[in-house]
Symmetry: C2
Subunit: 424 residues, 2 copies
């Protein structure tokens, strides 16, 4: 362990991919850290869509923060909601009245959904960011099929069995593919009256094509694969209105059983507490070392930050960016506090951008190289099992995936939070 | 398959151990069945305490009802809340206005908590019957430790780290043992400031001893084992008042972090809809063939029924009783409907009454034979894995138990529904 005499405390807000890595790096160096999060677990968000589509349980992709950091005696974990940051006094205020003093502040609170000014749509079309979101989406999805089975009206059944996913990025693609597979392979066997395999999954993208962060050839491949699964992909399809029972698209009203929002994110509101300018998405532009211009001892990273690469292009809001930033900052901050050294700026190394479409179909973009199809799908599964935190999670997820691959079953088909159902 | 011409429909309300078996028996015979439940899953309640104590995920012990009954084409599954039973018209009304006609009615809606006239205690001391209950208990339990870690007041820490379990039956014993192990083996490593291994778990029983349905020698063994785990067992301890922060016991106020109610159950309120007399616990006395006296074509079974054995003693409210009753009624009703035959009365075969205390410690009572200790514990685990519905659940639970046995870890330590926390 390094010098124990240091009394400089680092307060990290947010235990996502970025925050947890900063805490690890500082913990290894023995730097006193307080890590604050509103949840007691770290969530592996890349697999959240599998919870929303009944393939995994929430516990499979959530790891207690205390367990992840338990070996670092200098790291303290606090469960709490931040209500204020006092830059003069260098304190953070929690909702329960606690004040926590810092010498260095690290903000990594990530992003949330953005409805581009249509916040009222959030009730009818929930987004997917938290475990509660995933559980709500899973329940509403399964309830739509229950209601269709009960209905005697073919038009109503058709409406209920039309699921819309708004947004053609990786999350939208993964949700649409997974819902189509759930309906076709699993629910089709469960229901006797309705033909769940005839479910309409609409994937709606306002731009010219889906997966616009990927090369056009991979996007075209993904669209073909989705269509083969029964997903209706519509591009240049900007949604004009969303209700519980319909969406309005280029003046056309389409009846839907349920809509999921995967179109936009904005940075978490916590950035505003810092009192510095943010961009339109609520993000804070940072220096090359992830520090905030004009502020002392304050760093922002992950989805909350806009960090530019060596060509001046902003880095995307990806888990691997957040994780690498966290690893960099953990090491850099430890050296700065311990040795007073200024670190070289952060450099992102692209480990490959990926999206999964369904069984035997995934895409990888490594920049200089692309991969798709069966091999990409196996590769995707191996990487995601490897990236999960904790051997138990890896084992459980691998067992469940293998089981699902062999049987087409999905174990976690629970309707747990019953929203108010429309009568009939 | 048997005669398809029958138009006699059996409506079963409740998909617990009893209801699901009736549906299976009738489904095998091709009798038209409508099975109604307010959940879309069948819950394996004997392991619910493991969800409440962060050892398993809800999805591990819940199986979709549709999946369990999917092979029986004559069985229809309906998700709905019953609001009325019209005995004259032979219809059941659902909350969404649907009316379902029956020729034969089977009621198997089980039991819920009873606070013996102190329903206001339910907020401070939740009981354990549903997945929502288990999730709530898990969150409140883990939150008590989070708050203790934040507190700077030793008295307050001691209060928060005192967990009371009211009721010394199998559920109370299993909860107390599991909480003591969670604190001592798992949480003790997670928290740096508090000493979670010093947690006080109070097991409070109003009667003369715990496990009063078991022989005294097994109860004494269980108490010794619990005490070795650090559980404080108090018998003849009738709780006089319960609040969020304390319990009153023989005039003594004991500060607690959280209280769990495992003291009493009463039959589900649905029995009253039948309009027949019930006992004090809301149960309906049934004939030897599980039919309801004075009612035609109506059967009640499981925890909702009082069925007497050949010596005139009422059968206990156990999963194995409900399951055997369901198996009996499924066969008997199929024969009655198909062939007009009156079946011989139901006879219960005791498969062994069991409770688990903790690692290497469980008790079995087979009536003529008792078993305890390490062998009983292995036996308990094997039986419960075997009884779970579905190979995937068996595999996942077995893997998690093995993992927990080897590492003392519990994967599902999620605080997901945060109740309002007291400030400070």
């Amino acid at each position: 362990m390094a010098d124990k005499g240091s009394t400089q405390r680092v307060v990290i807000i947010g235990a996502g991919f970025a925050g947890i890595e900063v805490a690890r790096g500082l913990g290894k160096a023995g730097v006193p850290v307080t890590l604050i999060d509103r949840q007691n677990y770290h969530l592996f968000q890349p697999l959240l869509y599998q919870v929303a589509t009944a393939a995994l349980s929430p516990g499979d992709i959530a790891e207690p923060i205390r367990k992840m950091l338990r070996r670092y005696r200098s790291v303290e974990v606090v469960l709490g909601d931040i209500t204020g940051i006092d830059r003069e006094a260098r304190t953070v205020a929690l909702a329960d009245g606690t004040m926590i003093a810092y010498d260095w502040l690290v903000l990594a609170t990530g992003s949330m959904h953005s409805y581009f000014g249509h916040d009222d749509w959030s009730v009818s079309a929930p987004g997917l960011k938290t475990i509660e979101d995933a559980r709500r989406i899973r329940s509403r999805l399964l309830l739509a099929f229950e209601e269709a089975e009960m209905s005697r009206d073919p038009a109503e059944q058709k409406r209920l069995m039309t699921i819309a996913v708004i947004g053609g990025g990786p999350t939208g693609v993964e949700l649409a593919g997974s819902i189509a597979e759930l309906a076709r392979y699993t629910l089709a066997k469960d229901f006797h009256r309705i033909h769940a395999e005839a479910t309409t999954v609409l994937l709606l993208e306002a731009g010219d094509r889906i997966l616009n962060a990927f090369p056009a050839s991979l996007a075209a491949y993904a669209q073909r694969k989705l269509e083969r699964l029964g997903v209706t992909v519509r591009v240049r399809a900007a949604v004009e209105r969303v209700t519980d029972r319909s969406i309005l698209l280029a003046g056309e009203e389409i009846g839907v059983g349920f809509t999921i929002w995967a179109a936009g994110v904005s940075a978490s509101g916590l950035g505003r507490l810092l009192g510095v300018p943010t961009d339109r998405a609520g993000r804070i532009a940072v220096n090359g070392d992830l520090s905030v211009p004009q502020l002392q001892n304050t760093y922002v990273l992950g989805d909350l930050a806009v960090c530019k690469d060596e060509h001046g292009n902003p880095l995307p809001g990806l888990a691997q960016v957040a994780k690498q930033e966290g690893q960099y900052l953990g090491r850099a901050l430890a050296r700065r506090i311990r040795e007073g050294l200024s670190p070289p700026p952060f450099r992102f190394r692209n480990r490959g951008n990926t999206a999964i479409i369904g069984r035997h179909a995934a895409v990888f973009d490594f920049g200089w190289w692309q991969l798709r199809g069966w091999i990409a799908w196996v590769f995707w599964a191996l990487i995601h099992v490897y990236l999960l935190s904790g051997f138990e999670h890896r084992l459980l997820v691998a067992v469940q995936w293998l089981w699902r691959y062999l049987t087409y079953e999905r174990g976690a088909r629970l309707i747990v939070e019953q929203p108010k159902r429309e009568s009939g």
